[in-house]
C-alpha cells in the first residue's frame, strides 16, 4: 500500500467543480505521476470547503497551505514548487483584504477563525465517495453504540437533552419530533430526509450531502432505530446531480458494509434508504407537500394537524428532518448532549450553517455557533462589503425571512432572536445587500419568487401574493398611490394570518420587514416617485447639465427614441416623457454632462 506523505485536498463541491476543479485534480495526478510521486502524494476530492468566493480551493496537507482561485494549469506549479521544492506558490495564496498580506494557513484566515464546524465537520476533510474515510472519522460508531448500548427511548432523550432544533427553518425541537413519531402506533413508519433545498441562494444541504453523505445516512438509521422505522427516504432536488451521485455511492457502500440493510450490527434491526426526486417546486420543502410529492401527487400542502408524526407518508407516522439536522446527530451522540448544549445559546444550542452570499467579500458556506452576531458573520467572516460600499441590509431565511438593518448587526443569531426582529432562521440563506440595493425591489424579487412557486391551493397565497407583487411592482414603477402602503400592510398581515402552509404564512415577511425597517424608502417611492438606491429604472430621470453640455449632438444622434433635442453648439434637453432610460446617451457623452437623478 502506498504510504502517502502529502495529501492534496481538492474541493469537489458544485461551485468549485463548476470552475473545473475536476481538471485540477486530474492535472495534479498527471503531474505527480510524471515526477514519480504518485505513491507519496494522494490527491483527494473532498466536499465543499465553504470558501466558495475563492474557489476552486486546494488545500495541502499536512502543512495546511490553502490555495485559492486555482486553475487547472496551476497544478504543475503546485507539484513542482510546493511538493517537490517545498516552496509555497505565492500567487495562489489568499491575500488578506485588510493587511494585503499572504496568508497561507487556512486557520489564520478570518473566514475560518470564527467558524465551528459540526454539521460540516467532514466537508472538505474526507473523500465523500469513500466510506472508509468516514469510518476513520468515527463514522457509524454512534449508530453502533446506540444500537448495542441504548434503548430507543434513551437515545431519543439524548437528542432531547441536546436541545437540537430543526435546521430546516421552523426550529421545532428534533427530539420531541422523534418522540411523537415513536409514540404513534403503526405497523410501518418512515424516516424522511428533506433535501429539497429550494431557497434561492441557499446551498447548505447540498454541500453536506456532497461532502459528507454518510453522516446523513447514519443519522437516518439512528432515527429509524429510535422511532421504530425500517425505511428511510431522502427527498432530494433533481437539480443536485452531484449530491445525488454521492448519495447513491454512499448508500451502496453502506449496504456493502452491512451498515444499511438487514440485521445491522447483528442486532436484528433493519434499515434501508431510498432516494426520491423532487422536480422543481419550492413548496415541497414544506413537509406535508413533500410527502404528497413522494406519493406521486402534486406537491400541495395539507392542513396540520394531522402532523406527519401521526400520519405522513402513505398515511403512516413519518419523521421528517432536514439534511443539516441529521448531520448534527452523529456528532451529538459521539460527544454527548452536554457538549452540544454548551455550544450556541440556551434556547438554540449548537451551530448553524449559513450560505453567505450577495454583496459580501467572502461568499461561502459557513458554520458558526448560534449566538454569533450578524456583524461577526458579515464583517469578520464575510470580510465586509464588496467594493467598499456601505452595508444596507441582510436578508435571512430566504423568501420566508426578512431584511435586517444596521440596527440589527449586533443581534445574536438564533431562532428566537431572528423571529423577534421580524425575520427568521429559515434554512440558512444569508444575503448581504449594500447601499445600491433598493429594498422595495428586493421585496418584489422575493414576492416574484413566491408567486411563481405558490402551489395555488389557498386563496391568500394564490391571489394575495400575486396582488402584493402587483402593488410592489406599481410602487417601483412610480405609480404608487396614497393608501397603497396601508393596503399593502393589511394584505401582508392577512396573508400571514390566513395562508394554509408555512410557506404562505411567511411569504409576506420580506414585504413587512422592509416596510418596518426601511419605511422612508417606501415613502420616497410612493410620495416622491424616487428610488433612493437608484435601482428602479422607471423612477430615474436622465438630465443634461446645461453648463457642461457643449452641444456636440452626439447624444441626440445615439438616442434610439429621439428623446434628446437641441441646436448644434447649444445645450441639449432630454424629454423624459419619451426617454426609455437606456443609458446610451450617458455612455456617449464625453463631457460628463448627463446624469441620472
Amino acid at each position: 500500500m502506498a504510504k502517502y506523505k502529502n495529501h492534496i485536498l481538492v474541493c469537489g463541491g458544485t461551485g468549485c467543480r463548476a470552475s473545473e476543479s475536476e481538471a485540477i485534480a486530474s492535472n495534479l495526478n498527471a503531474s505527480l505521476s510524471e515526477n514519480n510521486l504518485q505513491d507519496d502524494v494522494q490527491v483527494v476530492r473532498t466536499g465543499c470547503f465553504g470558501f466558495c468566493e475563492k474557489g476552486p480551493v486546494v488545500k495541502m496537507v499536512p502543512d495546511n497551505t490553502f490555495y485559492v482561485h486555482v486553475a487547472p494549469d496551476d497544478a504543475e506549479d503546485i507539484v513542482l514548487e510546493h511538493v517537490i521544492k517545498g516552496r509555497k506558490v505565492e500567487r495562489l495564496l489568499y491575500v488578506d483584504p485588510e493587511t494585503k498580506e499572504h496568508v497561507s494557513d487556512s486557520r489564520h484566515m478570518d473566514f475560518y477563525k470564527k467558524q465551528l464546524r459540526i454539521a460540516l465537520r467532514n466537508c472538505g476533510f474526507i473523500n465523500p465517495e469513500n466510506i472508509d474515510e468516514y469510518i476513520a472519522r468515527d463514522g457509524y460508531s454512534a449508530l453502533g453504540t446506540i444500537m448495542e448500548e441504548m434503548t430507543p427511548e434513551a437515545a431519543i432523550n439524548v437528542v432531547k437533552d441536546s436541545g437540537l432544533r430543526g435546521r430546516g427553518g421552523g426550529g421545532f425541537p428534533s427530539g420531541l419530533k422523534w418522540e411523537l413519531t415513536r409514540k404513534s402506533e403503526a405497523d410501518q413508519k418512515y424516516v424522511v430526509c428533506n433535501a429539497d433545498e429550494g431557497d434561492p441562494g441557499a446551498f447548505m444541504d447540498r454541500s453536506i450531502l456532497e461532502g459528507d453523505p454518510h453522516s446523513v445516512l447514519e443519522a437516518m438509521a439512528i432515527c429509524g432505530y429510535c422511532i421504530g422505522a425500517d425505511r428511510g427516504l431522502i427527498y432530494i432536488r433533481a437539480e443536485y446531480p452531484l449530491a445525488i451521485k454521492r448519495l447513491k455511492i454512499a448508500i451502496e457502500q453502506a449496504r456493502d458494509y452491512g451498515l444499511l440493510g438487514n440485521d445491522i450490527f447483528g442486532t436484528g434491526f433493519n434499515f434501508d434508504v431510498e432516494i426520491r426526486y423532487g422536480a422543481g417546486a419550492f413548496v415541497c420543502g414544506e413537509e406535508t407537500a413533500l410527502i404528497h410529492s413522494m406519493e406521486g401527487l402534486r406537491g400541495e400542502p395539507t392542513v396540520k394537524p394531522p402532523f406527519p408524526a401521526q400520519s405522513g407518508y402513505k398515511e403512516k407516522p413519518t419523521n421528517v428532518n432536514n439534511v443539516e439536522t441529521f448531520a448534527n446527530i452523529p456528532a451529538i451522540f459521539l460527544k454527548g448532549a452536554d457538549w452540544f448544549k454548551k455550544i450556541g445559546t440556551e434556547k438554540s444550542p449548537g451551530t448553524k450553517v449559513f450560505a453567505l452570499a450577495g454583496k459580501v467579500n467572502n461568499v461561502g458556506l459557513i458554520e458558526v455557533p448560534m449566538g454569533t452576531t450578524l456583524r461577526e458573520v458579515i464583517f469578520d467572516i464575510g470580510g465586509g462589503i464588496k467594493g467598499g460600499k456601505k452595508f444596507k441590509a441582510v436578508q435571512t431565511g430566504g423568501p420566508s425571512g426578512g431584511c435586517l438593518t444596521e440596527d440589527h448587526l449586533d443581534l445574536a443569531i438564533d431562532y428566537d432572536g431572528l423571529l423577534a426582529s421580524g425575520s427568521m432562521m429559515g434554512s440558512g440563506g444569508m444575503i448581504v445587500m449594500d447601499e445600491d440595493d433598493c429594498m422595495v425591489s428586493v421585496a418584489k424579487f422575493y414576492l416574484d419568487f413566491t408567486v411563481e412557486e405558490s402551489c395555488g391551493k389557498c386563496t391568500p397565497c394564490r391571489v394575495g401574493n400575486k396582488r402584493l407583487h402587483e402593488m410592489l411592482d406599481k410602487i417601483t414603477l412610480g405609480q404608487g398611490e396614497e393608501g397603497d402602503l396601508t393596503r399593502l400592510r393589511n394584505l401582508a398581515n392577512v396573508i400571514k394570518d390566513t395562508a394554509l402552509c408555512g410557506l404562505g404564512q411567511t411569504s409576506p415577511n420580506p414585504v413587512l420587514s422592509t416596510m418596518d425597517n426601511f419605511p422612508e424608502e417606501y415613502q420616497s417611492h410612493v410620495k416622491e416617485s424616487k428610488c433612493p438606491a437608484g435601482q428602479c429604472r422607471a423612477l430615474m430621470q436622465y438630465v443634461i447639465n446645461s453648463k457642461l453640455c457643449v452641444g456636440c449632438t452626439l447624444c441626440s444622434r445615439v438616442c434610439p427614441v429621439d428623446a434628446i433635442s437641441g441646436e448644434k453648439k447649444l445645450p441639449h434637453v432630454i424629454d423624459s416623457s419619451v426617454c426609455i432610460k437606456c443609458g446610451a446617451c450617458i455612455e456617449k457623452c464625453k463631457f460628463g454632462a448627463i446624469s441620472i437623478q
Binding site: 506523505k5 502529502n6 499536512p62 502543512d63 521544492k85 516552496r87 469510518i135 476513520a136 463514522g139 450490527f265
Partner: protein, 132 residues
C-alpha cells in the same frame, strides 16, 4: 467486502483505517506535534533524502510519536545533505545535517523522544524556507 457484524468490528475497522486520515487530522493542530521537514531538493534526493523521509515516517508511526513529516525545498546546506529540520512543540527549530537512516534513528530516540541533543546540529544562523 466483509460486512460489519458488530460494534467491535467497526471499531477495529476504524482503528485500521485511521491511518488514512491522520495526516489530515494532524494538520489541524500541527503546533502541538513534532514537526519534521526533510529537505527534498535535487541535492537532498541525490544524497538519499527520500530514504530518510520514508524511514522517519515509518519509524515515528510505529513508535506512536505524534509527528508531521513534510518535505521542504533546499535549505542551503548542500554540503550536509540530507538535512532535516525538527521542531518540538514549544521549541525553536533545530536543523540536523547528514541525516541517514542511522542518524535519523538516533534523532528520534534522543532528541525527539527525550529532548537530548545529538551531534550534527547546524548552527542557527541558517535561514528556514519560510523566512526567505
Amino acid at each position: 467486502m466483509s460486512k460489519v457484524k458488530n460494534l467491535q468490528d467497526l471499531k477495529k475497522m476504524r482503528d485500521d483505517l485511521k491511518g488514512k486520515i491522520t495526516l489530515r487530522e494532524k494538520s489541524d493542530h500541527p503546533d502541538s506535534l513534532v514537526q519534521i521537514k526533510v529537505s527534498m531538493a535535487t541535492c537532498g534526493i541525490a544524497s538519499g533524502a527520500r530514504d530518510t523521509m520514508n524511514y522517519m515516517v515509518d519509524e515515528l508511526e510505529s513508535q506512536a510519536v505524534d509527528a508531521v513529516v513534510t518535505q521542504t525545498g533546499c535549505m542551503g546546506y548542500c554540503y550536509a545533505e540530507p538535512t532535516i529540520e525538527v521542531t518540538l512543540p514549544g521549541e525553536k527549530p533545530v536543523v540536523f545535517g547528514q541525516v541517514d537512516t542511522k542518524k535519523a534513528s538516533e534523532i528520534i530516540e534522543k532528541y525527539i523522544k527525550n529532548g537530548e541533543l545529538v551531534d550534527g546540529i547546524i548552527p542557527d544562523s541558517y535561514e528556514t524556507i519560510d523566512k526567505k
